[in-house]
Symmetry: C2
Amino acid sequence: MEILQKVVRGMSLIVQKYGGSSVKDSQRLYHVARRIAEQFRLGNQMVVVLSAQGKTTDSLIEKAQEITDKASGREMDVLLSTGEQLSVSLMAMALGQLGCKAVSLCGWQVGIHTNGIHQNARILQVDTERIRKHLEQGMIVLVAGFQGISEEGDITTLGRGGSDTTAVALAAALKADRCQIFTDVEGVYTADPRLVPEAVKWQEISYNDMLVMASMGAKVLHDRSVELAKDRQVCLEVLSSLSNVPGTLVRYQRETQPMLRGITADNSTLCYRLENITLEDAGRLMMTLYRRDVRPDLTEQPAPLQLFFTVPEHDRQTVNETLSELSLSAEVDESRSKVTLIGSGLHSIPNLKQELNTALQNENIPLGSTWLGERRYSVLVPREQSTKAIEALHRVLLRHQS
Amino acid sequence: MEILQKVVRGMSLIVQKYGGSSVKDSQRLYHVARRIAEQFRLGNQMVVVLSAQGKTTDSLIEKAQEITDKASGREMDVLLSTGEQLSVSLMAMALGQLGCKAVSLCGWQVGIHTNGIHQNARILQVDTERIRKHLEQGMIVLVAGFQGISEEGDITTLGRGGSDTTAVALAAALKADRCQIFTDVEGVYTADPRLVPEAVKWQEISYNDMLVMASMGAKVLHDRSVELAKDRQVCLEVLSSLSNVPGTLVRYQRETQPMLRGITADNSTLCYRLENITLEDAGRLMMTLYRRDVRPDLTEQPAPLQLFFTVPEHDRQTVNETLSELSLSAEVDESRSKVTLIGSGLHSIPNLKQELNTALQNENIPLGSTWLGERRYSVLVPREQSTKAIEALHRVLLRHQS
């Protein structure tokens, strides 16, 4: 009976996520509210995840820094989680004003259960009972992103990209028909279209390609949410909250032939170089960083007994603390960008590395370390030449399409 | 064994409440943090209730008003409760910085169970398990004031004076040794010392006198928290967060002889006058207002078939809506202040009403309605003469002391 109704009335359960810039002020918030209302009035059940408005999280962090530079993770989570709570309550009011019944829920109200690692918690389980109850009452359900509750009953936050992860976890738990991630670009492109006008939007892309793109600096999705989507087989749609064109689907794809997918740049990468390091120390360092959720990118090594790796800027403090705990010293270089070409089957494209290196050299871009794997080619270039390098690699990518 | 320890080490369980102005910026917040730390280091168990910082609640209300002028109470509560959440997390950070272990808790984390009346919820029950656990772990427990959780798992707020009520309810549930309400005045005075320099601070005052003072415009405590304190026999201490002098104790006192306690003024009172009203309409109006938590002050009636009452400014909307629902029309006068002398056994003080009226007339203050009960004498005076009226009545009060 229920299934029949769904077919007859075309009712789908849709999970949507809107980021901070999409709800940054009342005007944007109403724009999003109207989009939600439209889908709702078509007979869909709507579960919407929101981030904190615009710069709210930053200003909350500033408030904490006025008090102390060593706030506990637990209390930072209590503080930061108010940002998303604010967004969902205001959105419920806007939807009410538009004549739609809506209810806002915090992480603890939904039952988004996480482990107890503050500021970087992982979702363990999502309850669906309360959301389903409100959906059955004919309400739009607004869920505060980025937050959950630990076994001890403490508020936790999920770290970077947390609201995307909330949306994916909800879509998986609710077996949603669609999971739409709204951002300020219209999908996943071969390169950032604001930098490279020739960039092409993908209609769909595999989890694996998206994962590498996300971890190599593409800001459209956070890698953790893509990992979860892959793991739970949730098909993601990445699309713009400002236009009405179809976005990009992220889902399972069989990889049949080599393919170049996109170019990304990480302009805040840090390059660490350790001289005369033993294998034991190198191993211990890597293990400790991994345990602390840092994923160093180990490049082709410049020389024996030298360890060279890059990490994102936001891991600086963890890396430095770890080095000092292990009594290791390193040289840090912040002057480089890591530019990456993502694809699959790269080793089976003849002379690819040569072609890419030549494309950069033709633009007089001095090459730092380069490395080629099955899924990506990365190169360190002077930071001020990052865009030129993206453009050069993108021309190679376009040559290989068709 | 536990009792022995308490006696030997002088350990008390102290509940403190600090209002919004006491924590309005980081400097004030640290000032309060040092006071809490001091008591904690003396070996006391500390449970501290905080309000939202300074004007936070006002700016949250503004945010809602940007969205809609008819936000639901449920969503207003989700929004407003973030203010206190922010205060307790920042205070936990400040105490951490001072070397004290502290933990912040929201209403739902403590288990402050309320009914489901949003924006004006009543506390039904307070769980103590989690607070006791943290106290036994040697932590200072910071509780977000003004908020609770309904049976449905929704966030509720307690309405005006809510944080005072939170403190009293916690003190009662925890059987605290002391319940200290910190404000920006040093206790309960015979009149507002900022208006009347001759005002005298009471060392202690009865629940009944405090109740009348609070409901007649004294801002030092909200009447609902005094009601709860009386009901649960919690002795309150009202004192200043800015000085170290003893405040005023509010507790049970046997009333043996007539006593004049203090003069208050409500400068935002609204006077409603209804002409040619039937007894039935008058009765229905009063019942409806009562049910909506409005307590009209019915004065001596000016004429038969005329109904005259005053309500505080913040009840304006409710009263107007109620009048219009009952198809009643009224004349509203906002030009008057209600000045009140509070005491006990007033009827047994000979010629009191005459003496008070004369005191006002000698200052050329035109008297509006006056009324004398066993616990108070009230008079309506032109708003711009309210301070002069307070001074005149205060001189009578001083004459009757000794």
